[in-house]
């Protein structure tokens, strides 16, 4: 039996997308299974680990805990939307330079949380950076290099690189 699907439209990484979804699908499932954007990771699916973090209208959200329907008409940014013309975003570069990742599973979510923070507060204190990562769990590296990478990206990005 074909399940009931409903049409929605949203803007993903700057492009308008029209897609038929099931009401029970989450934004994470829409991104991964329908749009093939697998940078948002499937982690705990309990609104805790933050591996699925994306930006929704400029703020960080856990995409496992948003229904795709709730994203109707809104703007979504995933890790795939950060590099431009093959050039990594300053945050991505900083993560590479500082070795701010090991397995990499949490990295897209952490980078998007950091981008949401820096969009609102271009030169955050270390405490602010740490506060912004409360909803992103990294079980490999600890957060020292992650915080350093975000601080260094903040310096590079000042002056309108956003």
């Amino acid at each position: 039996m074909r399940r009931k699907r409903v049409p929605i439209s949203l803007v993903v990484n700057g492009e308008e997308v029209f897609v038929d979804i099931e009401p029970r699908q989450t934004l994470l499932e829409l991104l991964r299974d329908e749009l093939d954007l697998t940078g948002a990771r499937r982690g705990c699916e309990e609104n805790f680990c933050g591996a699925c973090t994306v930006m929704l209208d400029g703020v960080a959200v856990h995409s496992c805990s948003v229904l795709a329907l709730q994203a109707q008409g809104r703007k979504v940014t995933t890790i795939e939307g950060l590099a431009t013309n093959g050039q990594l975003h300053p945050l991505q570069e900083a993560f590479v330079e500082h070795g701010a990742l090991q397995c990499g599973y949490c990295s897209p979510g952490i980078i998007l949380s950091a981008l949401a923070l820096l969009s609102e507060e271009p030169r955050p204190t270390e405490e602010k950076i740490r506060d912004s990562l409360v909803g992103n769990t990294c079980r490999c590296t600890g957060y020292v290099k992650i915080v350093q990478a975000i601080q260094s990206a903040a310096v590079k990005m000042e002056g309108g690189a956003l």
Binding site: Q25, E46, C64, L69
Partner: protein, 288 residues
Amino acid sequence: MIEELEYLEPASAEEAAALLAEYGDESKIIAGGQTLIPMLWQRLVTPRYLISIKGIEGLGTIEKDRQGSLLIGACATHQSLEKSPAVREGWPLLAETLQKVAAPQIRNLGTLAGDLCHSDYGADPPASLLVLEARCRIVGPDGDRWLPVDNFFLELYGTALAPDEVLAQIEVPAVPDGAATAYVKYCLRAMDPAIVGVAVMLSMKDGRCQDARIALNGASPVPYRARLAEEALKGWPLNEAHVDEASRLAQEQAEPMSDSHASAEYRSRMISVFVKRALRAAEERARI
């Protein structure tokens, strides 16, 4: 995947209540979804109909009325409240409390009203709303009623809402002139619920406590006002003996539970520690 469901978008709170009346146990209200969606994943609830109130006009607003009360619509998010200049200026206790709720991602979508409706003992906002003596506007199929937040929480995960009622608005009266407030939370990881959360409002005059309000999260299956502790402080300076006595009374009133965050015994011991810290934090602010 979560179970199959239908997503309904009523145009008013009354219509939402009518849908609840029609579909009963098979339906759930959804606003921010930050508690509900994980519960759907875990099959803790399996509604066939989700009734979204997010699109209802006027439910997302945060405004001050003529009496100086704060009116919070059911769809106002933690983040919009925490960042609202009116809230920061007039109700710093609320802003301080909401900054301690879960994580930014959750605060960006989660709503204060949804937080209350879930009635989880480790949630942060209830104690502060008890101290602020907030009221709830509840909409049913036959109209509205107002209920003090003190009567809203009935049991763990259970509220005074009838199956066909919607929490539409929260009214927070102006903070009395000169009163100082504090919310102190104890948890192991920043994202966790409160093992103990204590909200305090203190009015001091000439070094003595004129009025004290104390409420606790995490300490019992439902949040509560520690009224005996409050009474024990009135008229006295906040010296060690009186603060000890108040914290003992607040602790005696608790019915602590054991969970994965803390045992009942540990929780019980932490109650008196954190009631003292909250009183000291508010007292310090009262001096400024």
